[in-house]
Symmetry: C2
Subunit: 201 residues, 2 copies
């Protein structure tokens, strides 16, 4: 099974992505199934991106999210400086780029997007860029909870805009048709699961 | 695909579960891929259980977790009173019980485990029970962050013991072989995804 999926990954070069606005009251559904995300941030002409499996919705409407981001990381520093970030939900097709974004620091390269083979697109309400080729995006503004960031590297934020590729998410639900376009769930050390079969109770 | 999985669910009655201790430093791997969990709590002879998709690891070692639990719920009240809870990771085979646990209140029934068709087993270090038939379990003690519970229904806790069914998790990794024994990822309204194919970067 894995080798078939790997072949599909090789064949599926990221295409410029369609983006359709997601109603804010349904933005939690972009994260509710627990995908690993890319976190991007920008401040004063610098930008960066990293991977984060530790994320979850925190409220429905206005939508809020929680994400754990090591303050020592360059992305963490850009978030603390700018008060903004974007969560992008990457597909299986980007698994190598996700691992690259998780393994190197933006402090060691001119531009980590380029170093990881990721392209960006402008967000609508925040300076942090969207990651091109992803399935969904949440533009976020930090909530003022510095004690949580200080004690736990835990960042709480309000989602101010949300987007999804209508090929995989529309009318408030995910509909994965191609294995390379499923979302990813990291376990450890570059081992992921793809989002699997639909189960309706 | 869904109908096949539903047939498997019907055929897979929960069996008494094997449990093997998971090294605390690797307990985060039980939640890292973003499964929906059952949260159980007990206090002064009362116990309850509910479903929670909004959970994530918060630290590696000692392991910590974050979970969103409406304080108005009976489970939330038992957690605040006892300072303890258990997260159990349910399989596809328990999807109907998970939805039942998410849809009714323990205040309306004598015992919600029985009302939902769930069985319990004693935990090792906390009074909250484990949910029998699950894939993995994390015994948790609340961290003293009442402002987070107050403002966001956000409970932070330290994991004091962790267990997994060695049929699906051993030596620090998940290995799902039967579709009814995969973990679950809730989206909304009883629509879930099963954990899918392994993807190694």
């Amino acid at each position: 099974m894995t080798s078939t999926l790997t072949q599909q990954v090789e064949q599926a070069a990221p295409q410029p992505t369609h983006r359709v606005a997601v109603e804010l009251a349904k933005a939690y559904r972009l994260l509710n199934h627990g995908p690993t995300v890319l976190v991007s941030a920008a401040h004063e002409g610098r930008r960066n991106v990293m991977a984060a499996a530790w994320n979850m919705p925190l409220d429905f409407n206005p939508p809020k999210v929680a994400v754990v981001i090591d303050k020592q990381t360059y992305t963490g520093a850009l978030i603390e400086a700018s008060g903004e970030f974007v969560l992008s939900v990457p597909p299986v097709a980007l698994v190598h780029q996700v691992v690259a974004a998780g393994n190197q620091s933006g402090r060691d390269v001119d531009d980590k997007f380029e170093a990881c083979g990721l392209r960006s697109a402008p967000a609508s309400l925040v300076a942090a860029p969207l990651v091109e080729g992803c399935l969904a995006w949440l533009e976020c503004r930090l909530l003022p909870e510095p004690a949580m960031a200080g004690r736990y590297d835990l960042f709480l934020a309000e989602v101010v805009a949300a987007w999804a590729d209508p090929a995989v998410f529309s009318e408030g639900r995910w509909h994965f048709e191609h294995d390379a376009q499923r979302s990813l769930h990291h376990v450890a050390g570059g081992a992921f699961f793809a989002t699997g079969e639909a189960v309706q109770a």
